[in-house]
């Protein structure tokens, strides 16, 4: 273990935290993945809305696409044209943001046009002011992910044997999966159904009955970004940052070849500690907010 390697691991953890947070807020602005089904359903049960509907293949594949696009651009600039690493990453992220803008616009237009019979209109002002904020967040995500890949391949020793685009693809899938399972619940479960009592769950009767009106005027996707940036985004960032940091930390502290057993045991230790902490969190939430007033005891099956 050397100080430089540990510094790099810390930097990668910090970049991953930022990437996770911006990834989650990007998907929340566009109502991607978890919240998307309710946004899609809302118009069909008679609740047309002014919320962005960015359906791009679920979060893991779409983030894999942005990160890979940024990575090929960076890779070509570094290997083919000898450009500086930071410049190459920034150029790649810009291309990824453009790709994302096109895909988002086409998804919003297509999904709303396919709901013509439910009177769901296409609002051009939503396209104009929401798409740039989605693109900006995608820029941050793909920039951070490409920088992590560049660090792994060019700077961290031993150098990672895989080419940058493949590493970025895997990181993109990972950040998408973590965002989809951590942060989106906050938007899909809390923001869309704010008036729900704790412990009620989402029964079929409530499907599509999302909150469409804001504190003032109609709710739009920028309001959702404001809400999600307070808890869901940082949570996702912490989840992804910890994943990257702890995983690299144990192979930096313990040599993966000569001390492989210690590294594996350390991983098992982390998993056990996190499970215990999750268990504690759930118990604590139930103690503070539960039980649901309508709970009438368990019903025998």
């Amino acid at each position: 273990m050397d100080a430089f390697g540990m510094g790099l691991v810390a930097a990668m953890g910090a970049l991953a935290t930022v990437a996770g947070a911006s990834e989650d807020i990007d998907s929340d602005i566009g109502s991607q993945s978890n919240p998307n089904s309710q946004v899609q359903l809302a118009a069909q049960v008679g609740n047309p809305h002014r919320i962005y509907n960015k359906a791009i293949a679920g979060e893991p594949p779409s983030n894999a696409l942005w990160c890979t696009t940024a990575a090929i651009m960076a890779y070509v600039l570094i290997e083919g044209y000898g450009m500086p690493l930071l410049f190459a990453a920034a150029a790649g992220a810009s291309l990824a943001a453009l790709f994302d803008g096109v895909m988002s616009v086409s998804a919003y237009l297509g999904r709303n046009a396919s709901q013509a019979r439910f009177n769901q209109w296409i609002y051009l002002d939503i396209l104009r002011y929401t798409t740039p904020s989605i693109m900006a967040h995608v820029w941050i995500t793909s920039f951070c992910i490409v920088l992590i890949s560049i660090m792994q391949v060019y700077i961290l020793t031993p150098h990672h044997p895989f080419p940058i685009p493949v590493i970025a693809l895997v990181w993109g899938l990972t950040v998408g999966a973590i965002g989809s399972s951590v942060g989106d619940i906050h938007y899909g479960g809390e923001r869309e159904f704010q008036w729900r009592l704790f412990g009620q769950g989402l029964n079929t009767m409530l499907s599509g009955q999302i909150v469409r009106k804001a504190e003032a005027g109609l709710r739009n996707s920028i309001d959702n970004a404001w809400f999600c940036a307070k808890f869901g985004g940082p949570c996702t960032g912490m989840g992804f940052g910890l994943t990257v940091f702890l995983d690299n930390w144990r192979t930096t502290v313990f040599d993966p070849i000569t001390q492989a057993t210690y590294a594996i045991l350390m991983g098992v230790f982390f998993v056990i500690v996190m499970n215990l902490y999750n268990f504690y969190c759930e118990l604590s939430a139930r103690r503070k907010y539960g039980p649901y007033p309508g709970y009438k005891g368990d019903i025998a099956a």
Partner: protein
């Protein structure tokens, strides 16, 4: 605004266009490159891949119309996954048998059989019970194979197994072909999901995403084939993307219940 051009194509017709157009396109690109002794015509391979992707998008549309909502991305990834296996199998077998050029046909035939078997398993063993599943997965597997072959050719400029391994797989550019080609097949139906989905809008979207993939492979080709071949591909990809994006916007405006600059919620229908 003048009436927007729309169209309707039967799946069988589209399959013929997709398969024959794509195979002919890849061989045309190969011949043009071989005759002129350059790699400048590699972009024809990318255009051929778009034809395959359009066929795949139509197959996704048919299979997923049976109510597979969240399965749309999965089926697109499955298609490209089958494609990667088939391409590597076809090209390496052809190379070992000394008939390198016929690798495209071997990969295509193998992938379609493979797709049919996967469709059979999905329907009979896993119990999907979707009538067009076998047919759809056969199409999808073929489309994934053609997409990967076409865009790989656009990056490597050659159909040789060793060349493709060198310039597409070892550099990691297969990642962008996999994910961007996958999106060209699955994004069209996913983006247009809903009861009023129309075939022409979905397929125009497929060509549009195919144009974006061509831009991406063009950027890769800047490194593997050089500035001229890469730039030609980027410009062609941009032209395809722009034309079909404008067309797509018009089709969406045609189908939507209203396109408004801004406004409150529409009066409810119920």
């Amino acid at each position: 605004m003048a009436a927007v051009r729309g169209f309707k194509i039967e799946p069988k017709q589209l399959r013929i266009y997709g398969l024959i157009g794509s195979v002919v396109g890849i061989y045309l690109a190969y011949l043009l490159n071989a005759i002129t002794g350059t790699t400048i015509f590699s972009f024809v391979g990318a255009l051929a891949a778009i034809l395959g992707a359009v066929m795949g998008a139509n197959a996704v549309r048919r299979v997923c119309a049976y109510g597979i909502g969240t399965g749309v991305p999965s089926i697109g990834m499955l298609s490209l996954g089958m494609g990667v296996v088939a391409v590597l199998f076809g090209l390496s077998i052809a190379e070992q048998m000394g008939i390198g050029v016929l690798g495209v046909i071997i990969a295509l035939v193998y992938s379609m059989i493979f797709g049919y078997v996967v469709g059979l398993i999905a329907n009979r063993v896993m119990g999907f019970n979707i009538p067009v599943m076998e047919e759809g997965l056969t199409d999808l597997s073929g489309a994934g194979t053609l997409a990967i072959l076409g865009w790989s050719f656009a990056i490597s400029g050659s159909l040789g197994y060793a060349d493709i391994v060198n310039s597409v797989i070892n550099t990691g550019f297969l990642a962008i072909i996999f994910i961007c080609g996958g999106l060209a097949i699955l994004h069209p139906f996913n983006a247009n999901l809903g009861p009023d989905e129309k075939q022409d809008r979905t397929l125009v979207n497929a060509v549009m995403v195919g144009g974006m993939s061509t831009i991406a492979t063009g950027i890769c080709a800047l490194m593997t084939l050089g500035l001229a071949a890469g730039m030609v591909q980027i410009v062609v990809g941009f032209a395809v993307w722009y034309y079909f994006f404008v067309w797509y916007y018009r089709l969406a405006a045609r189908d939507a219940s209203a396109v408004v600059g801004t406004g409150l919620l529409p009066p409810t229908v119920q």
